[in-house]
Amino acid sequence: MSLLSLRGVTGGYGAGQVLHGIDIDVDEGEVAVILGANGAGKTTTLRAISGSLKQVDGEISFDGRNLRRVAPHQVARLGISHVPQGRGTFTDLTVDENLRLGAVTRSDPGVAGDLARFYEMFPRLAERRDQAAGSMSGGEQQMLAIARALMARPRLLLLDEPSLGLAPLITRDVFERLGELNRSEGLTMLIVEQNATLALGIAHRGYLLETGSIVAGGPASELAADEGVRKAYLGF
């Protein structure tokens, strides 16, 4: 059984329906990617999962538990870390405080150890630990957002356009880190992304979202080979 599964999920804002019945599965230990153009409903899908979307219907289950109508802070406590679009940095708090907030729901003694581990993994964050997080570059803030999400020891990481606003080289670095995290720690991820080449490069499974419906889905390699996907999203 999948760790996360969406069945016939619909939802939107006010009178506007954005999602028209979405089916998505993410297995434990796997990286899944949702590709799609602006306005296709990628962000809305993630918001539906993390409980931030108010108008949502259909079935969302995580580890066999129904997530519909569960408040965002409770979804987070169940083990889903959501890095929102624009990274959701606590800009006027320090880097260190941002990381500690990632673990704010934890009371186990492992927090200090994890903090040290992520400082080692992201040395730039260690250099800036007492600096206001908002003063860092976009790439550094993206690393911080990922590290903050990991501080919760999530079972599922939701990432909303990690490449947004980043230079190509830095975007590549971010995706390399994500691929590494999945390989070395078996971290399960659902990534929403416009940069199809990089995203499919680390993914096991891919979905193509168009105007609120999944139009293609399957193993990432198959999706990357698909003629339509290649033309529309890979540019060759």
């Binding site: 800009t91 907030l101 704010v104 976009g138 919760a152």
Partner: protein
């Protein structure tokens, strides 16, 4: 010199009260992002409640019980009056609710504790510490009462500082004022934290009210009416979202007022112009105040 020092001591004494009420305003502003115009009247109600408890219990017990009840009351105000309007996305409506609450609480106090009663039996707050004696400094008199008042309010500020800066609860409260959406996503129960913020503010106001009331022989429902203007001036000068700024600015406002009424003939008898002018100039020249947040963001 003697006059100067005496006025300085007066200024510091009132400054400590302004600092405490400004701190309450800042706590609410940081969590909910709005000015609570009823903050002063909430503190006034707390003062009457404390007074009522003090009729049957030692004053220290009454003050602590008053603070605890105010915490609960503040949290309830957030939950029942403020949040429903906030959820409608109407910030102006929320401000108007706090103004309505200002009037309602004032009327409620007059109903429960009629001002007419004060003629036969004045509302007199017992002092929580020995009040006799003064220290003489260069011919000026520093009252022990002032020393205690300032010490206790500073201790309260210190306790709040430790709470905000050194505890997980404080970190969550600060996260809330930084980014509500992300606070939810890291698992913070935003609703609970909003109630805690309002509760803390009400408790801080309660202590300030009780101490202010014990300063003179009797108090009435106008206890906080002018204080609110001074506290607003202090909060604005300190930077609306900086607790440290509110405290420092509270003392500045207190001292400025004491000096102005002594040395500036124009404000004689109308000291209220001092905070109003301060608010005016701060908003005009430096809207973020001394310690306010100037958001630095790079993308």
């Amino acid at each position: 010199m003697q006059l100067f020092l005496n006025q300085l001591f007066n200024g510091i004494e009132m400054g400590a009260v302004y600092a405490a009420v400004a701190l309450a305003l800042v706590l609410v502003f940081r969590t909910t992002g709005l000015f609570n115009f009823a903050q002063g009247e909430m503190a006034m109600l707390s003062t009457f409640v404390t007074w009522q408890i003090a009729q049957a219990a030692p004053i220290l017990v009454a003050i602590i019980a008053g603070m605890a009840l105010s915490f609960v009351g503040g949290a309830l105000v957030e939950r029942t009056l403020i949040r429903p309007m906030e959820q409608k996305g109407n910030p102006l409506g929320t401000v108007i609710i706090t103004i309505g609450l200002f009037i309602a609480l004032n009327a409620l106090c007059q109903l429960i504790w009629p001002p007419s009663r004060a003629q036969s039996e004045p509302f007199s707050m017992p002092r929580p510490w020995p009040t006799r004696g003064t220290i003489e400094i260069a011919g000026a008199q520093l009252k022990w009462f002032t020393v205690w008042l300032v010490a206790i309010l500073l201790l309260e500020c210190l306790a709040l500082y430790v709470l905000l800066q050194r505890t997980k609860l404080g970190l969550s409260l600060r996260a809330l004022s930084s980014n509500q959406e992300s606070s939810r996503l890291v698992g913070i129960n935003v609703g609970t934290m909003l109630m805690v913020g309002w509760g803390l503010a009400a408790a801080v106001g309660s202590l300030a009210g009780a101490l202010l009331a014990s300063r003179s022989n009797q108090f009435d429902v106008s206890l906080m009416q002018f204080i609110l203007a001074y506290a607003f001036a202090a909060a604005a000068l300190g930077g609306m979202d900086s607790p440290l700024g509110a405290v420092i600015a509270g003392f500045i406002v207190g001292i400025a007022e004491a000096m102005a009424v002594t040395y500036v003939d124009a404000v004689e008898g109308i000291p209220i112009v001092v905070p109003l002018l301060l608010i005016f100039f701060v908003l005009l020249l430096r809207p973020e105040g001394m310690f306010g947040r100037k958001v630095v963001q790079r993308v």
